[in-house]
Amino acid sequence: MKPWRKLSLVTVLLVGIHLLALLAGFVAPYNYATQDRDHPYARPSRIHFVDCAGKFHLRPFIYETSLREGTLNNYIEDCSQLQPIEFFLRGEKYALAGLVPADLHLFGVPSPARIYLLGADGFGRDEFSRVLYGAQISLFAGLLAAVLALSMGLLVGGVAGAFGGWVDEAVMRTAEIFIAVPWFYLLLGVRAVLPLEMSPLSAFVLVVAVIGLLNWGSPARLVRGVILSGRERNFVQAARGFGAGRGYLLRRHLLPMSFSVALTQMALLVPRFILAEVMLSFLGLGIGEPFPSWGNMLADAQQFHVLTAYWWMLLPALAPVPVFVAYHALADRLQERLQSAN
């Protein structure tokens, strides 16, 4: 029973992460594109309980900051501008999960003051909000690409396994060719023939499609293996003996057998594809401004002066870490279950 409990813990973590991304508008205090030209590269806000006079407040608060005269990046806290952190307050309008219009936010400070949990970028955009909105793009790009790669794998691997003969041979040779190219180079090669400038939406669709369609090889190989061994199972032989056709066998017996393998494979593919999107956007070949992706948010941090002077610009790089760990843990648990089932 132990693997089950571990599985549920991992599932809770993963569902939580995805919910957080889905509800980004509610959790984030601001929109991803809202700029604050008075606070470029603002430091992460210090959350205080004790004010300048030494008085304790039960409600946490921040001080408004302003640039120190004559400096470009030196902010000082203004003791006269105390801004209490409020919860469930009304603020900027957004569409919850992209559908429901709302303006309620989990936390924030009364406008026009702004709170920067993870600091701000060069346009004074809140990095915390952008990481959350970026999760919508990066997480779901990985997820969709994995679904695409697996559907291709199931289809192609299923056909190859069920038909056998020269179909199998041809399909598997082609898969080998796709696997033989180092995947990131192949991704870049395909990206090179596509237009460099495009609208953010088509860039998203394109990134998902390219990542998903190029990586059908190894899922197809796995599915084919399961189907080949499944064909020899007694109940499948029996069904065939009763006159079941190829399509029926595939649909009713063989493909369902490969679902658990496909699911395990998916848990491994999603983090890889998330990373692929992040890397593409980081290099400026994926999703572009003003939309945040975990990759393009880091593109700035590559510049030496940004990296040394504004260390918080590096923080978005930490966002994928829990996601990767959770997905790999899920893959491990699924693998364990798969092995104990056999």
Partner: protein
């Protein structure tokens, strides 16, 4: 031996041929060619663009162009870089050498680290060492190359103890040994990033493979006969696990080549990575495709070496071949 090697070599050649076909097809998908942008500028007459296209053979039918490209690859030219106006190989090969200089030692070092650790963890299955090992590899899986590379860059910038990029100091004029030391010093950070980034899958694979072997009857029998612990692990169990381990060698190399592309860009290592990025932005397709093809050749060559190792270490293959 000869027959086995010939078969693997044949397979490698088939793969290369397939990949070249795939990449050439890919190149044709590109909308327009290098001269399309020149046409837009208006300063070059259509006639001279036509003349240029004829000169470079871009007006020939597809199969002819494929054969010409293949011929050029075969002669080591890898097509023609329009942006630099020279054979792509002159640009590719020095960069490829630098990439190999970085990745090959990283590959070896990560295996040298991973194998003893994995064997040790497997031999203490369920113990605190094994648990620490599993936790550590899970955490490592989360540390992606981009995070590591940026952290390394931050370290180099903050401490000044390491160079922030490049492969050699500008004022390097010392002897051979001094130059090597300079390169090694520049290599240190990118190499550490690559090794840490690629270690986790190898560590996990070594452990799980060893667990499988240690579960088998002959190991139990050897244990019952009083074979010493280290002899048991390294003399009996490890060679039995050689087959799946060597198979992973190729895979780990694929991961490393892909990972090094990003690390090279972030840490400005003059390998193929930064060049490919530049070529993509300049729409210099022969250079892009040449780099992809070259990286594939490295991978296939690595797999071929793995095949040879397999033949040497696994008697089952020697008998079947």
């Amino acid at each position: 031996m000869i027959r086995y090697l010939l078969r693997r070599l044949g397979h490698a050649i088939f793969l290369l041929f397939g990949v070249s076909l795939l990449l050439f097809f890919l190149m044709q998908l590109a909308p327009g060619d290098f001269f399309s942008t020149a046409r837009l500028s208006g300063s070059i007459s259509p006639a001279s663009i036509h003349a240029l296209r004829t000169e470079y053979g871009l007006d020939k039918p597809l199969p002819v162009r494929y054969l010409r490209w293949l011929n050029s690859v075969g002669h080591g030219d890898f097509g023609y870089s329009f942006a630099y106006n020279m054979p792509a190989s002159a640009l590719l090969l020095p960069r490829a050498r630098n990439t190999l200089l970085l990745t090959v030692p990283c590959l070896l070092i990560s295996w040298i680290i991973a194998v003893p650790l994995g064997v040790l963890a497997a031999s203490r299955r369920g113990g605190w060492l094994d648990r620490f090992y599993s936790g550590g590899t899970s955490a490592l899986l989360g540390m992606h190359d981009l995070l590591l590379a940026l952290l390394a860059l931050l370290l180099a910038l903050r401490t000044g103890a390491f160079p922030t990029g490049g492969m050699m100091s500008l004022d390097a004029a010392g002897g051979l040994w001094a130059n090597w030391k300079d390169v090694l010093w520049h290599m240190a950070l990118p190499a550490i990033v690559l090794i840490v980034g690629s270690l986790a899958p190898i560590l996990r694979h070594v452990r799980s493979t060893m667990l499988e072997v240690l579960d088998s009857h002959y190991i139990r029998a050897a244990e019952g006969h009083g074979v010493g612990r280290l002899t048991l692990l390294f003399r009996h169990a490890l060679p039995a696990a050689a087959n799946p381990l060597i198979s992973l060698f190729g895979l780990s190399m694929a991961l490393l080549i892909a990972g090094s592309m990003l690390v090279e860009v972030v840490m400005s290592w003059p390998g193929m990575g930064p060049m490919v990025l530049e070529a993509i932005l300049a729409r210099d397709m022969f250079l892009v495709v040449g780099a992809v093809l070259l990286s594939t050749i490295f991978l296939i060559a690595g797999n071929f070496i793995a095949d040879i190792l397999l033949y040497v270490f696994d008697p089952r293959i020697r008998i079947n071949a």
